[in-house]
């Protein structure tokens, strides 16, 4: 409700600014940055104190369909590690990393000139990388979403750079991370 209210207000403002008529296009976003795990896991009960690491490099790949109207649609993927930590017991030391690859349907709208909001819904492919008395790679698919805000700076007619802050939320497993990324935005195809 809050989002829809803000969107409607934003739509009105954008309309008043008499933006030029858009041409349909496909736009590719690719970029990377850092993520920080924000969900509740201050210290897992088995981790060696101080080894829980919530920071990780993060990357995003997104293909958007820009129609003539304002609401855009696309698909998004990427990769980030939610967290990793070490354990130690009499039998040895081990480490685990939880990696997330989202596959989401994404909606996007420009709410002010150069400012965009994104909301996505779909699945997160979670993978555990475990190294303790043997290596295991185990995957699960869970429901999730994301929301993002970006600021885009045009470089030329087809290429832009964007800064984006995004919340990744695998809500089925109560995993979430905040990412800050720089994106390369390329208008790969446009109808005249």
């Amino acid at each position: 409700m809050l989002v829809s209210f803000n969107i409607s207000t934003a739509q009105q403002k954008v309309k008043n600014e008499r933006l030029p008529r858009r041409k349909p296009s496909f736009v590719l976003h690719a970029g990377g940055g850092m993520s920080y795990y924000t969900a509740g896991i201050s210290q897992t009960s088995v981790a060696i104190p101080g080894t829980l690491n919530k920071w990780s490099p993060a990357a995003t790949l997104r293909l958007m369909w820009y129609p003539r109207y304002r609401l855009r649609l696309g698909i998004e993927s990427g990769i980030a590690n939610f967290y990793r930590y070490n354990v130690r017991d009499p039998d040895g030391e081990g480490k685990v990393t939880l990696q997330a690859v989202p596959v989401l349907v994404v909606w996007n709208m420009q709410v002010r000139p150069r400012w965009n909001i994104y909301a996505g819904f779909g699945s997160y492919f979670l993978t555990s990388w475990l190294d303790y008395r043997g290596k295991v790679r185990s995957t699960d698919v869970v429901l999730g979403s994301n929301v993002a805000v970006s600021y885009t700076q045009p470089i030329n007619r087809r290429v832009s750079a964007a800064a984006e802050i995004k919340l990744m939320n695998a809500f089925e497993t109560k995993d979430a991370a905040l990412t800050l990324q720089l994106h390369f935005v390329w208008k790969v195809f446009q109808w005249d």
């Binding site: 809050l2 897992t44 088995v46 685990v96 979670l126 303790y132 043997g134 185990s138 497993t173």
Partner: protein, 423 residues
């Protein structure tokens, strides 16, 4: 205004999803009970105290209580005895320890309602004139008037509300032993118990809740160790966040033991640890091994025979059966050597019970009481259990109208109450 409404709705959504935790009260502060001169109660006293009691002075728990003792052996072979009181209202119960001091009997513990988060401290005193003198006699002569004068409070508050229990009659004891079976080792976590389902800690606690037996879920790790775990995957319903995801069969036991903790912090137990706890540390007499996997049952069968032999050697009544919930498990069971002399429990049709030579037939409760089929099974010298009964009205109905030899439930205290108060 729209913004405020949105914030309220979102807040209510998140508050509504938050799991409620029950903090069990600390009942160890009663100075009289902690007196150094307070002594344990003898076996004969404990036995004589069991029975159905009338409740007076308070309507918080209903009109009747069934009192029964249980025990748990602690790590250093020190045995703790508990008296449990099962009530007919709100699936309430109390669990107390007992001592004697200056001719009085003292009971100290906590009460709890399973339909809510209500809990608190409860204490009872039996004065010499109210039956303590007779009960503490080396050979108590019954029947005698036994009156428990009690006080209970809410949460950690000092108990101030009075409650009186007066002995009415012995516990109901049918012609054949009745099995009160606890689902997933004692009850699901949704019951807000302080221990996790399918854990050793749950198995050690379940007799306090009235259980005479347990159903536990068996799976295999990657390296072939049978463990107790219900779901296919590692998930937040059963475990704390660990960073491990996917099928539990992807991991070795050593890996699970190092990285995974159950929702209340316990380790995932092996089947051997679970059977050992049940055999050596509890009075449980029945174990139902529910098979949650597709694969050979030989390792489970070997452990089953090993622990039944150990129980026989101890002169300890303990029956262990392999559960057969579906056709796939029946087929695996039929591939076992000596399957026809392997104790099993079949949840399928009467024909499948015959095909597998199962000693127990266990239909789902939605099929009704099925008294004719139950009688037919019992005529063959077999038993019939029903699963999984959790609604108090259904439990009462099945005990009143049915002929089953046992009930599987997440609320064994409710089954215990309804069974023991029968006239």
């Amino acid at each position: 205004m729209k913004n405020i409404s949105a914030i309220l709705i979102v807040s209510l959504f998140f508050l509504g999803c938050k799991k409620t935790q029950v903090a069990m009260p600390d009942s160890s502060q009663w100075a009289l009970f902690r007196d150094g001169a307070a002594a344990p109660l003898p076996y004969a006293t404990r036995q004589a105290m069991e029975g159905v009691y009338d409740i007076a002075g308070n309507d918080n728990f209903g009109s009747l209580a069934a009192l029964k003792w249980s025990y748990v052996v602690n790590g250093n072979n020190d045995t703790t005895y508990h008296i449990s009181g099962f009530f007919g209202k709100d699936i309430a119960y109390f669990i107390c320890e007992g001592k004697q001091l200056n001719g009085q009997i003292l009971l100290s513990g906590y009460w709890r309602k399973m339909v809510s988060t209500e809990t608190g401290i409860i204490r009872f005193t039996i004065d010499p004139a109210n039956g303590a003198t007779v009960l503490l006699n080396p050979s108590p002569v019954l029947p005698t008037a036994i009156i428990l004068d009690g006080l209970f409070g809410n949460g950690q508050d000092e108990p101030k509300n009075s409650i009186t229990l007066s002995h009415n009659r012995p516990l109901h004891n049918g012609a054949a032993p009745f099995n009160i079976l606890a689902h997933r080792g004692g009850g699901r976590n949704s019951d807000l118990l302080p221990v996790s389902e399918n854990s050793v800690e749950m198995i050690l606690k379940t007799a306090e809740l009235g259980s005479t037996g347990i159903e536990i879920d068996v799976r295999f790790t990657k390296d072939g160790i049978p463990i107790l775990y219900h779901d296919n995957d590692i998930n937040l319903r059963l475990t704390q966040k660990s960073g491990l995801v996917g099928p539990i069969e992807n991991y070795t036991y050593a890996q699970l033991n190092a990285f995974v903790r159950l929702i209340n912090g316990e380790r995932i137990p092996t089947l051997r640890q679970a059977l050992s706890a049940a055999l050596y540390k509890t009075p449980l007499t029945f174990i139902w091994l529910d098979t949650k996997y597709i694969g050979s049952l030989e390792r489970v069968q070997a452990l089953q025979f090993e622990f039944m032999e150990l129980a026989t050697g101890l002169g300890r009544p303990l029956q262990i059966v392999i559960g057969l919930p579906a056709e796939a498990q029946v087929n695996m069971f039929l591939e076992l050597p000596d399957y026809n002399i392997t104790p099993s429990l079949c949840e399928l049709s009467l024909a499948d019970v015959e095909r597998t030579n199962s000693m127990i037939w266990a239909p789902r409760f939605t099929e009704g009481t099925q008294n004719e089929n139950v009688a037919a099974i019992q005529a063959q010298g077999k038993k019939a259990f029903v699963w999984t009964l959790d609604v108090p009205e259904f439990i009462e109905q099945f005990i009143r109208d049915g002929q089953f030899d046992g009930i599987l439930s997440n609320f064994p205290s409710c089954v215990a109450y309804n069974y023991y108060v029968q006239q």
